[in-house]
Subunit: 312 residues, 2 copies
């Protein structure tokens, strides 16, 4: 199996209550690849400027990720985002967005990227997501992320892509906005009616929920006393979630695989937010991932022994 | 075992996107008692006006709850609250609060109420919580709820009571406000340093988390496509949580009991919000409670079979 991801590779300036970084490696495809590469061969499709450092390209290539489809534009500047988080990290203000070379990003995928078994369409404009999807030969599983901007200005195009993917990964506010349904379950069901077989609702510090036509599953975020930088947590989650599915795709039991994939996504995301940017996940080991999934299982299980109720 | 609860018995006017009630039975002690009465003998300590109907007193007495300590004040009016919920039910505007007979509520507990094994101090002013706690002879387990108002205007008194209880039940915003710690885990640990052995963080539509000195446990809310009225969900949760603990208090295993108690709290709260006010829980059966706890177990479990990671 192999995984192709298309999305931003960027530099971020981030300030949180615990410190700041003036220029760190970021972007949805970067976070996704660093997590997914634990599970399978990853191909990154992206675009950077000639300000993009070889050391950062090496980080992107961690655990064997193929970066041949990361185009470096001579004279161009890499996508840049600057943001600042509030006291409890639940609010975020965007201070600057410079699309730069990402503005006219129209990728032509290499044979290796087109031959992927699993495709992740990170948050980019829906027309571009569709274009990449159509270039891929025969992906067995396609997942998609998006954002409020595209729901606002490119709703029809977004729904066109959603109809053609297996799994939609959005946060709860985006699910509500997209479907105009007030409850997360109702919103996810409305998305499933569009075509996908599963929806992952990212709930930030509260964790994530998985909704399919038959099932609901929810996991809390891994409890951390200190979150240093939430940037990239969602894409890191998606990388491990999709990565795990890619690895287990041959197996027959779909539902348990999705649940375990949620656990790996939660575990990887929790490591990601412990330090700035990609710093923690860059040096993460497989043993640490596995140990956190086991911890997560331990803190979510309970026995149900039915007790006689009603005293009168 | 027996449970005493002190708190409001009220009339509420509630408007949600799904309808409205101009005057329905409400109040923290009411919701608590209706849930806790599934598990053990409950004594309600409260105060109402002579506008309080006998039919509503009968509802309060559901499943054998003792209402002898609900004082009816001649010529007085029952506590009244009016509120309206927003589109996604996560925002709530208080339109009217009339304390009425609740304003100079200084209860003297009957022997039966004082002899309780378990005490729940619902959200009332901290000095009153302390007064009731001191009237109780030898409760084995005491839990407390509060709100932002008391953290604002009676912080020291609230901390005095917190020091003397076993369990604090607050929502995440209240925990952050009380402790000035940004993370839920950090905030809960700060409360545990004050004295209690456990903290329940109510997370609204996202569920609830349990934090003790050694353990963390989290449960999502039960997934509902439609929530009709969230009023009283937190107190209903507390009633089942505390009720289950009361019932199991003789047993030795503290931690599994707390986890199961969280599950019963979640189950009861999910029924409560399916209809307005106490309507659903009034006619709820023990079999329905048990069946939802089992459903909740099913939607939160996953197998963890360690897989070899890192492909390169």
């Amino acid at each position: 199996m192999s995984i192709t991801v298309v999305g931003s590779v960027a530099y971020d300036a981030v300030k949180t209550p615990f410190g700041e970084r003036e220029r760190m490696l970021g972007g949805a495809a970067t976070y996704f690849a660093l997590a997914a590469s634990f599970f399978d061969q990853v191909h990154v499709v992206g675009r950077v400027g000639d300000d993009f450092g070889d050391d950062d390209l090496s980080v992107l290539a961690t655990r064997g990720t193929d970066v041949a489809d990361v185009e470096r534009v001579p004279g161009g500047k890499t996508f840049f985002w600057a943001g600042e988080y509030g006291w409890d990290l639940n609010s975020r203000e965007t201070l600057d967005t410079q699309l730069n070379v990402f503005e006219d990003f129209r990728p032509t995928l290499s044979a290796a990227s087109r031959d992927c078994d699993v495709l992740f369409l990170a948050n980019i404009q829906p027309e571009l997501q569709l274009n990449v999807l159509e270039q891929c030969r025969n992906p067995k599983f396609v997942a998609l992320d998006s954002m409020n901007l595209w729901i606002d200005i490119a709703r029809d195009a977004l729904i066109d892509v959603i109809r053609r993917v297996d799994c939609v990964v959005l946060n709860d506010a985006e699910l509500r906005q997209l479907t105009e349904r007030p409850s997360i379950v109702g919103a996810a069901r409305a998305v499933i009616e569009m075509g996908p077989s599963s929806v992952v609702a990212k709930l930030g510090e509260y964790g994530a929920a998985l909704i399919t036509a038959e099932e609901f599953f929810a996991l809390p975020a891994f409890p951390l006393e200190t979150v240093v930088d939430p940037t990239g947590a969602g894409d890191t989650f998606a990388g491990a979630f999709v990565g795990f599915i890619a690895r287990q795709l041959e197996r027959s039991e779909r539902e348990p695989v999705l649940r375990q994939a949620m656990a790996y996504g939660t575990a990887l995301a929790s490591y990601s937010v412990e330090e700035f940017g990609t710093e923690r996940v860059e040096r993460l080991t497989a043993g640490e991932v596995d140990s956190r999934v086991e911890d997560l299982r331990r803190i979510t299980q309970f026995e149900h022994v039915a007790v006689p109720l009603e005293i009168s």
